[in-house]
C-alpha cells in the first residue's frame, strides 16, 4: 500500500510540476527568424556589394596643372564621407563602404583636349575611355610610374570601384568607375548638390541606370538616379525600385 501512497504523491507533485512549467507559461514561437539579405550589383546578382572599396583619385590633364585645386584632397574626402553616410543609410547597413585617396594628384600624360568630349550631355565617355586605363596602368601595375606599395591593396572579397575627380568637364559612371568633374564638387553653383552628383555617378558603378530621359531630361524617378541627383544628399534617396535591384 505504501507504494500506492508514493505513487499518488508522485502524481500530485508531478501535476504541480506540470502546472509550474506549462500552465500559464507563454510558449515562444521559434519560427520568427530574420532572413539574411545579400546585396549585389543591380545588373549582376552574383557580384556581391556587401563590401565596397573605393580608390579615389584627382586626375589632372597635363596642360591643366596650373588649375590644380589646392583643397582637392579635403574636398574629395568630404564628398566621400557624405557618400559613405548616404550609402550606409540607404543600403540599410547591409553594404560596407570604405575608401582610400591616392595622396597626389595624377598628372595625365595627355592634354585635356585628348581626354574630353565637347558634348557632355551624356557625361564624358571620352575621359572614361582614356583616364581610367591610364590610372590603372600607372598606379595599379607594379611597373607603373605611380605605383606605390602603400596604395592599391584591395581588400579581399571587396567590390572595387575607382572614383576620379577630374580636372575637366562632365561626369559619368560605368562598371567599377565613376568620374566627375572637379567643378561639380567645388563650384558654389553645385555646392548644395555636389555630393548627390558624386553619389549618382557612384551608383552607376553598382549597375543602376539613369532615371531621366535624354535629350529632354524628363525625370522618371525622384530618387538619386533621377531628380534626386539635383537634390541635397540629405534630402535625396534610393527608390524602392533601385534597392530591389540591389537585392534589398
Amino acid at each position: 500500500m505504501f507504494k500506492y501512497l508514493i505513487a499518488v504523491l508522485c502524481l500530485v507533485f508531478g501535476a504541480l510540476t506540470l502546472m509550474y512549467f506549462y500552465i500559464g507559461v507563454p510558449v515562444i514561437y521559434d519560427g520568427a527568424k530574420d532572413v539574411i539579405l545579400n546585396v549585389h550589383r543591380a545588373d549582376n546578382a552574383e557580384q556581391s556589394i556587401s563590401k565596397i572599396y573605393i580608390s579615389a583619385f584627382y586626375f589632372v590633364p597635363k596642360n591643366k596643372k596650373e588649375d590644380i585645386f589646392t583643397g582637392w584632397s579635403t574636398t574629395l574626402q568630404e564628398k566621400l564621407e557624405a557618400l559613405m553616410r548616404f550609402h550606409t543609410v540607404e543600403l540599410q547597413e547591409k553594404s560596407e563602404l570604405t575608401y582610400t585617396i591616392y595622396p597626389e594628384p595624377i598628372i595625365g600624360r595627355l592634354n585635356n583636349i585628348e581626354y574630353d568630349t565637347f558634348i557632355t550631355q551624356h557625361g564624358n565617355p571620352e575621359a572614361l575611355r582614356h583616364v581610367v586605363p591610364e590610372i590603372e596602368s600607372r598606379v595599379f601595375e607594379a611597373n607603373g610610374d605611380l605605383f606605390r606599395n602603400d596604395f592599391g591593396t584591395i581588400p579581399k572579397d571587396a567590390y572595387h570601384v575607382l572614383v576620379v575627380m577630374y580636372e575637366g568637364v562632365g561626369s559619368i559612371g560605368g562598371d567599377n568607375i565613376a568620374l566627375i568633374s572637379r567643378t561639380f564638387l567645388t563650384s558654389s553653383e553645385y555646392a548644395p548638390v555636389s555630393e548627390s552628383l558624386l553619389a549618382h555617378e557612384f551608383y552607376h558603378t553598382l549597375g543602376l541606370p539613369d532615371a531621366y530621359t535624354l535629350p529632354e531630361g524628363t525625370v522618371t524617378s525622384q530618387d538619386i538616379m533621377g531628380l534626386g541627383r539635383y537634390t541635397p544628399i540629405g534630402q535625396t534617396y534610393l527608390s524602392q525600385k533601385s534597392l530591389q535591384a540591389l537585392g534589398l
Binding site: 500530485v12 520568427a32 524628363t218 544628399i233 534630402q235 527608390s239
Partner: protein, 595 residues
C-alpha cells in the same frame, strides 16, 4: 483489477489516507490549474486589447497627420484663374507653405498647361536656394494630381529620416485644374508619435512601410529605412494575417528587444503600412507571473496541508473501527465484559452501542450455555457413575449366573465407552466450573517430588506397555511448590498421559526440573509425533484436538489442555510448550516455589 484487489487488501486507515489524499488534492490541483488558465486567458485578452488599442490610436494619429498635410496642398484659387498662376504668386505661396508647415522640406508647382506640360514652374526648399527645375511629367506625383487625385508616394529614407512625396491638384473655383502642387513631407511627426507610444514600462510600436522598411521604433536597434519586412512578425502583418497577441505565433523572440515579446499588429488600410506593437514578456507578464506564483504557492500549501492532516483524519475515521476490532478480539477471547467506547454520536457511535449490547447478549448466552453444560454434566454424572459400577460388577463376574465370553466382550466395550463418557462428563464439569469461576483451588505447600512420584507410578505401566522409557531427572525430593495437590496431580497426569498417547510406538519420556526466580519449572519431554505449526496456535482452545498421522485411535475430549492451562494459571503459574512436528514436544509449567 490487480491494483484494485491490492488496494482493497490494504488496511482501512491506509485506504482512507489514500482516498483522502486523492479526493482532496485532485480538486485543488484542478482548481489551481483552471484558475491559472483562466487568469492567463484573461491576461492575454487584456494584453491584446491594450496593444490593439495603442495601434488603433497610432493609426488614427498617422491618418490625421497625412490627411491634414495633404489638405494643405489642396488649394483652390479664384474663378478667373485658367492656367498657370503668376510666378511671383507661386513663389510667395510656396514660401508661405514652407514657413507654416514644419513637415514640408520642399514644395513645388508644376504646370498643366500644354505649353509647359509637366514642367516645374516654381520650387522652394528648406535646404538650399534656387533648386533646379525639372520636367516631372512622368512622375506619379504629377500624373495622379493632374488627373484630379491626391497622391502620397511610398516612403523614402534620407539622411534626415523618412519622407513621402505628396501632391494635389490646384483648382479654380470652377473645379478646373490649373497647377499641380507637390511637397516633400518629413514623417518626423509620425516618428515622434510612434516613439512616444508605449505599453507598460517597455512595450512599444514598430512602424514599417508597405515595402517592409522601418519608419520608426523607439528602440534604436535598426536604422530608419532598414529592411525589416523579412522579420517574421512584420511579414505577417504586411501579409494581412491576424496578429492580435492571441495567436500561437504572437509570442516570439523579438529582433528589436532581443527577448521574448507578445506582439499584435495591424495594416493601415490605404497605405499598407504595418503597425506592430511589441511588449517584452518580462514586462507584460510581470504581474500575471506574480499572481500565477501565488496561485501555485497556495495550491502547494493546500496540498501540503492535506498531506499533513490526511493521516490525522484517517486515524480519526478508523479509530472507532479499530475499537470495534479490539472489542471483537476481546469477545473472541471470551471477555464479554469489556465495552467498546466510541464517543461519536453518528452511525459509528450507534454501532459501538449495538456492539456493546451484542457483547452483553453473548455474555448472557455464554452464561446460559455454561449453566446448561454444568447441569447436563452434573445430571449425567450420576447415571454414568451408576453404569460404571454395574459394569464393574459384570466385569468382575459378580452378576448372577455369570456372563458368556461374548457378553463379556460386549461388556468390556461398554466399560471402555462408559469410561470415556465419565471422563468427558468430568472434563465438562471442570470446564463449566472454570468458566463459572467455581473451581475451588486450595493452594498449600506441596512436595513436588511426592506428587510426581505418585503420578509416575500410575503412568509407568501405560508407558511400559508402549515400550516408552520413562525417566525423572534431577533431585526433586526437597522441592516444594504452592499448589493444590489434587489439581497438581491432575495437571501432571494430563500432560504425561498426552505424552504417552501421542508417542507412537517406542520412545522416551522425561520429566525435568528447573528453578527460575522463585518458580519451579517442570518440563515433560517426549519423542512423540510433535505438533504442527498451525495446531500450536489453537492447542489450548476448548475441544481442539491435534490431528496427526497415526493418532486417529487416540481417545480424548479436547478439553484436557484447556483445563490444565486454567488450573496452572489459577495456581499462579504459567504453561507453555515447544514442539517440532515429527520430533516430539516439551510441555513446561511453572509454579511458585516454597522456600
Amino acid at each position: 483489477m490487480y491494483t484494485l484487489i491490492k488496494i482493497t487488501d490494504s488496511p482501512l486507515r491506509t485506504r482512507f489516507l489514500l482516498y483522502f489524499i486523492i479526493l482532496t488534492t485532485a480538486p485543488v490541483l484542478v482548481l489551481g490549474a483552471v484558475a491559472i488558465s483562466l487568469i492567463d486567458a484573461s491576461h492575454r485578452r487584456d494584453v491584446s486589447a491594450l496593444e490593439l488599442q495603442l495601434i488603433n490610436q497610432k493609426i488614427e494619429e498617422t491618418e490625421k497627420f497625412l490627411e491634414r498635410t495633404l489638405g494643405v496642398l489642396e488649394v483652390v484659387v479664384g474663378y478667373d484663374q485658367k492656367v498657370d498662376i503668376e510666378l511671383t504668386q507661386q513663389n510667395f505661396f510656396l514660401d508661405g507653405l514652407l514657413s507654416e508647415n514644419d513637415a514640408f522640406e520642399e514644395v513645388s508647382f508644376a504646370s498643366v498647361d500644354s505649353a509647359a506640360y509637366g514642367k516645374e514652374t516654381a520650387k522652394k526648399s528648406k535646404l538650399y536656394k534656387n533648386p533646379e527645375l525639372f520636367t516631372v511629367a512622368l512622375l506619379p506625383k504629377f500624373i495622379e494630381a493632374k488627373e484630379g487625385k491626391t497622391y502620397i508616394s511610398e516612403v523614402y529614407y534620407t539622411l534626415k529620416g523618412p519622407f513621402v512625396t505628396m501632391s494635389a491638384p490646384v483648382r479654380n473655383r470652377n473645379g478646373i485644374i490649373v497647377e499641380v502642387l507637390s511637397a516633400e513631407v518629413s514623417l518626423q511627426e509620425v516618428v515622434q508619435s510612434i516613439n512616444a507610444g508605449s505599453i507598460g514600462a517597455r512595450g512599444g510600436i514598430v512602424l514599417a512601410d508597405n515595402n517592409g522598411r522601418l519608419i520608426a521604433h523607439r528602440e534604436p536597434i535598426f536604422a530608419s529605412g532598414a529592411k525589416i519586412g523579412n522579420i517574421f512578425s512584420i511579414k505577417r502583418v504586411l501579409a494581412g494575417e491576424k496578429v492580435d497577441a492571441l495567436q500561437p505565433q504572437d509570442r516570439y523572440e523579438s529582433l528589436f528587444y532581443k527577448e521574448p515579446v507578445v506582439g499584435a499588429g495591424k495594416k493601415m488600410p490605404d497605405l499598407g503600412w504595418a503597425f506592430l506593437a511589441e511588449w517584452p514578456l518580462s514586462d507584460a507578464d510581470a504581474v500575471i507571473n506574480g499572481v500565477r506564483n501565488q496561485v501555485l504557492i497556495l495550491t502547494l500549501v493546500s496540498i501540503l496541508g492535506v498531506l499533513f492532516f490526511a493521516p490525522l483524519v484517517a486515524s480519526r475515521l478508523t479509530k472507532p473501527i479499530n475499537a470495534l476490532k479490539s472489542g471483537a478480539e476481546e469477545i473472541e477471547q471470551g471477555h464479554f465484559d469489556k465495552e467498546v467506547s466510541i464517543a461519536t454520536k453518528d452511525e459509528l457511535g450507534e454501532l459501538g452501542l449495538a456492539f456493546n449490547r451484542m457483547a452483553k447478549g453473548l455474555k448472557r448466552l455464554e452464561e446460559l450455555k455454561n449453566e446448561f453444560v454444568y447441569i447436563a454434566a452434573h445430571e449425567l454424572r450420576a447415571p454414568v457413575t451408576a453404569i460404571k459400577g454395574y459394569v464393574s460388577l459384570l466385569v468382575e463376574g459378580r452378576a448372577k449366573g455369570g456372563v458368556t465370553l461374548e457378553a463379556a466382550e460386549f461388556i468390556d466395550r461398554i466399560d471402555r465407552a462408559n469410561e470415556g463418557l465419565v471422563h468427558l462428563v468430568n472434563d465438562l464439569l471442570e470446564v463449566a466450573r472454570s468458566d463459572a469461576g467455581k473451581i475451588e483451588i486450595a493452594v498449600q505447600p506441596v512436595s513436588l517430588g511426592a506428587v510426581v512420584k505418585d503420578v509416575v507410578a500410575t503412568m509407568r505401566i501405560l508407558a511400559e506397555q508402549k515400550k516408552i522409557t520413562f525417566q525423572v531427572q534431577g533431585e526433586i525430593a526437597d522441592l516444594h511448590v504452592l499448589a493444590d495437590p489434587d489439581k497438581l496431580k491432575e495437571i501432571l497426569t494430563n500432560l504425561i498421559s498426552n505424552a504417552i498417547k501421542y508417542t507412537l510406538g517406542a520412545g522416551a519420556l522425561a520429566i525435568k526440573y528447573e528453578l527460575d526466580q522463585g518458580m519451579v519449572i517442570t518440563h515433560i519431554e517426549d519423542t512423540g509425533v510433535g505438533i504442527s505449526f498451525e495446531a500450536q496456535k489453537k492447542l489450548f482452545e476448548k475441544f481442539y484436538r491435534v490431528k496427526a498421522a497415526g493418532t486417529e485411535e487416540v481417545n480424548g475430549t479436547g478439553l484436557g489442555l484447556f483445563i490444565v492451562k486454567q488450573l496452572v494459571q489459577k495456581m499462579g503459574g504459567k504453561i507453555w510448550f515447544v514442539s517440532q512436528e515429527g520430533k516430539g514436544s516439551t510441555f513446561s509449567f511453572s509454579l511458585p516455589r516454597v522456600s
